[in-house]
Amino acid sequence: MLMDIQQHARELGLGLDLFSCIQCGKCTGGCPVSMTTALNVRSLVYGALIGDIAGPVHREELWDCTCCFTCVERCPKDVRPAEVIIALRSLLVEEGKVPSTIGNALMGIFRQGNPLGYAREDRTAWMDGLEVKPAQEGCETLLFTCCSSAYDIRAQAATKALVRVLKAAGVDFGHLGTEETCCGNEVRRLGEMGLFEMLVEEGKPLLEEVGAAQMVTTSPHCMNTFRHEYKLGMDVLHYTQWLVRLLEQGRLNLTGRVEKVVTYHDPCFLGKQNGIFDEPREVLKAIPGVKFVEMDRIRERSLCCEGGGGRMWFEGTNTEGRLAFQRVQEAADTGAEILAVACPFCMAMLDDAVKVKGLSERLKVMDIAELVAMAL
């Protein structure tokens, strides 16, 4: 068994081209969970490099990685350290050694096309009374809703708000309805490569058949995998990018006012990983009445909410020091009344943290789409 792992570690080093690593520590130094958990991505890279990862199988902290990719973005030697974690996770997946909650999420995706394990038929429940055109009839823009955006009650509100905004702008968009299936972004990051490949194989033709010119996603996570891993024959935008365009083109007019002090939390998959920092801010600043304030740790230095990489379905080995707790305190300290988000995972993590930290009176977590809808 040990021999096996060492062999595998060596192959990992070769396969992931880790040999430029100089063990500088920049990856671990920036890793959001490196201070609160046993996860040390630099030392995992080292283990893979020298062909010696003693018993990663028993290291629960491998599941602590949020796949924020801060380590990947910062590495001066163009190593992709987080990929080592993903590869080690896939070893564990192959052996079935997966935390039960993650196992359930993967099973849910396999059976029902969503990690929550809800019935596929209920994927469009959020649409009630909204009349969303089926994409199968043809549309310019394909709206892709993240599983959270479709099923999670809090996130649904944001999805509905976005649809109202798009309707007000009079744009032609459609939705795949109950055929829509999990994008698999977290599946790949959990190391379940077989399931991910299946999702791509089935999802790609389904998405491309619509013949839309572009896809717009509610979540940066879906956008990320569609952009970089599906290699689709259409542009993939995050909804804030589209809203900026619609505002610029004068198709979206905001006549209402939102007299609030608002700050914004950069999602790792939108900001660090895809360089989309300005558009969400531009949308917020375009809302009449909004007084926009910034926190200190923003953009490339934004603090991860800990919702990515499968952490939505895994508490983590340290349940005390959640980063979301720290984050909402930072938001509250700016004097903001609203902490705006642009990702359903951030919404879930931060909304929960506001409650736990007893900040509900002072701070409300809202999706950018909801704020825009308030100004229609």
Binding site: Q23, C24, G25, G29, G30, R42, P76, E300, R301
Partner: protein, 574 residues
């Protein structure tokens, strides 16, 4: 009509380098049977005195008119054997080399096959040699003056050496003062000597030197010509800036050699947003700290710092930023400044975060020892990010030796910024057709053997324009560039390549494709006749024009079609 060939062929053993793999005796016997060969011999070291004597002796006694040596690469010993041939009375251009070492013995194991290949290479060389024409080496006169571009320490030292040797020097500096970056420094490693104690004296000597004309606020706008005979136009930078010193500008400067000493830029840490430079007053660069150390004011937001952090390799060793190189000075700069901070603020705690400590120069390691001795703490880890906490900043870093991630609070963070090539180097490179390496610094002609020469004869490099270096290395290189520049100036003449391209005016259609392709600007269309003409002084004999010319009007001497084809036929027919 060429004289009937009488060829001498010499096979070298190169000790055992060749002889161990190639049967030199068999090659010699074979060579003796080839048409036109008057004598074939082998010897242990052809490049040695007795080896060369063999050639000279045979040439005289047997009346040779061609020589072939089968040995190492012509890059190594072609000049040696050319002059041996010449001394024996053979035209040096009727000499040919077969490389049976790099192309044969060093890359093959099988003795039989290696011997066959060596024979083939010798056969081809003999076939070419039989068709070689005698060429004449000429010389061009040299203008006895030099141009130095850039007035940092590199430019200053190069100018002084050339001027001290008795030649006029034009020193062109774009800013309003001499001294370059060093003029901004406080004290220098490894002796912590104040810059004020040595730089002003050097600058003063330049300004008083009867042989040096300084052009401040000036830049070089155009350069034409070639080694020994350059012509440079100098113009003021910006409008309304009069030259503070020197003679009236406008008339072009005539010089025989050029030294480029345009220096470097400091890396702009805004390109690494994780450090919050420009956002936090606590975060400064090493260059800014030099200014603060000079003024003695180290306070941040009016308070004396207690926790000081240095971050190394900012903008160096960074593939993401396209700066894979080590800047070579920032380890020493950090050690220097950390010591000076400890001196200035004895109550402070100073921590240097590093990936590696590269204090390799003379007295460098001792200087690093001294830094630790005076209380500077070295912790291994490449800092990942900086953010604010109260009126301090937090440095987030893994101490890789402890395997522990820290949030290290600091009052002052110093970024040891690396060296960047100057953007203005692009203009100079374009003016002189000077190649640059992938990192943007000027490229030396050979990384080991010709460190201050460039691909352009008569143009030399000094200082950080060639790559990051400290002051001692900068000055050493400046002195080397000066003495190389003095070679043509002192000789008074420069040899010209004899194997140049010649245009047949009857065949030339005047399309100008050769003018475009030539990397040295040698061919030009004659305004009167509309046909191309190659300036033999500029031509390096690269042959690019000859293969480009659609009318086959260009003949590259020493590599003519019948010479090359004879060589190819020998190999193909083997």
């Amino acid at each position: 009509m060429l004289a009937k060939p009488r060829i001498g062929v010499y096979i070298c053993h190169c000790g055992t380098n060749i002889a161990a793999t190639v049967d030199v005796g068999a090659v010699t016997e074979f060579a003796a049977t080839l048409p036109g060969v008057a004598v074939a011999r082998n010897y242990t070291y052809m490049c040695s005195e007795p080896g060369q004597a063999l050639i000279k002796e045979d040439a005289r006694t047997l009346g040779l008119n061609r020589v072939v040596v089968a040995a190492c690469s012509p890059r190594m010993h072609e000049p040696t054997f050319r002059s041996a041939s010449q001394e024996g009375g053979v035209n040096p251009y009727q000499f040919e080399m077969a490389n049976i070492r790099e192309q044969c013995s060093w890359v093959h194991h099988d003795r039989h096959e290696a011997t066959e290949k060596a024979q083939a290479l010798v056969y081809a060389a003999v076939m070419k040699a039989a068709r070689l024409e005698p060429l004449e080496e000429r010389e061009a006169p040299v203008t006895p003056a030099a141009l130095v571009i850039g007035g940092g320490v590199a430019g200053i030292v190069a100018a002084l050496d050339i001027a001290d040797a008795g030649f006029p020097v034009y020193l062109v500096e774009q800013s309003d003062h001499l001294g370059g970056r060093v003029a901004e420094l406080n004290r220098t490693f490894p002796d912590l000597e104040p810059v004020s104690e040595w730089l002003p004296a050097l600058v003063d000597r330049v300004q008083r030197h009867p042989n040096i004309s300084v052009y401040l606020n000036s830049r070089v706008a155009g350069i034409t010509g070639f080694v020994g005979n350059f012509e440079a136009t100098v113009e003021p930078v910006g409008v309304g800036l009069a030259p503070a010193l020197g003679r009236p500008q406008g008339s072009p400067l005539q010089v025989g050699a050029i030294v480029i000493a345009t220096g470097y830029n400091v890396f702009d840490p805004r390109l690494k947003p994780e450090f919050g430079y420009g956002l936090y007053p606590q975060v400064v660069t090493t260059l800014e700290l030099e200014h603060r150390l000079a003024s003695g004011d180290l306070a941040v937001n009016g308070k004396t710092p207690k926790e000081v952090v240095f971050i190394k390799c900012v903008g160096s060793r960074d593939q993401q930023l396209g700066r894979p190189y080590c800047s070579r000075v920032c380890c020493m700069i950090s050690a220097k400044q950390a010591q000076l901070v400890r001196q200035a603020l004895p109550d402070s705690r100073v921590t240097v975060f590093y990936m590696d400590v590269r204090t390799f120069g003379k007295r460098g390691e001792e200087f690093y020892d001294e830094a630790r001795r005076v209380g500077v703490r070295y912790r291994r880890g490449n800092v990942s990010e900086i953010f604010r906490r109260g009126d301090r900043v937090v440095v987030r870093v893994e101490d890789t030796l402890l395997g522990r991630t820290l949030e290290h609070e600091a009052d002052l963070v110093v970024l040891a910024v690396g060296m960047d090539p100057r953007p203005e180097a692009t203009d100079i490179a374009a003016l002189l057709k000077l190649p640059r390496s992938a990192d943007g610094f000027f490229l030396e002609a050979h990384p080991k053997l010709r460190p201050v020469d460039t691909a352009v004869d008569g143009v030399f490099l000094a200082g950080c324009c060639q790559g990051p270096k400290d002051i001692p290395d900068t000055i050493a290189q400046a002195k080397a560039a000066a003495s190389s520049a003095l070679i043509p100036l002192m000789r008074g003449v420069v040899p010209m390549e004899a194997a140049t391209a010649i245009v047949d005016p009857e065949l030339c259609a005047g399309c100008g494709m050769c003018v475009e392709i030539c990397p040295y600007g040698a061919p030009a269309l004659d305004p009167l006749w509309g046909v191309s003409r190659v300036n033999a002084v500029l031509c390096k004999g690269c042959g690019a024009c000859a293969v480009t010319c659609p009318s086959k009007a260009i003949r590259l001497q020493h590599f003519t079609p019948d010479q090359i084809l004879a060589q190819v036929e020998a190999l193909v027919g083997w």
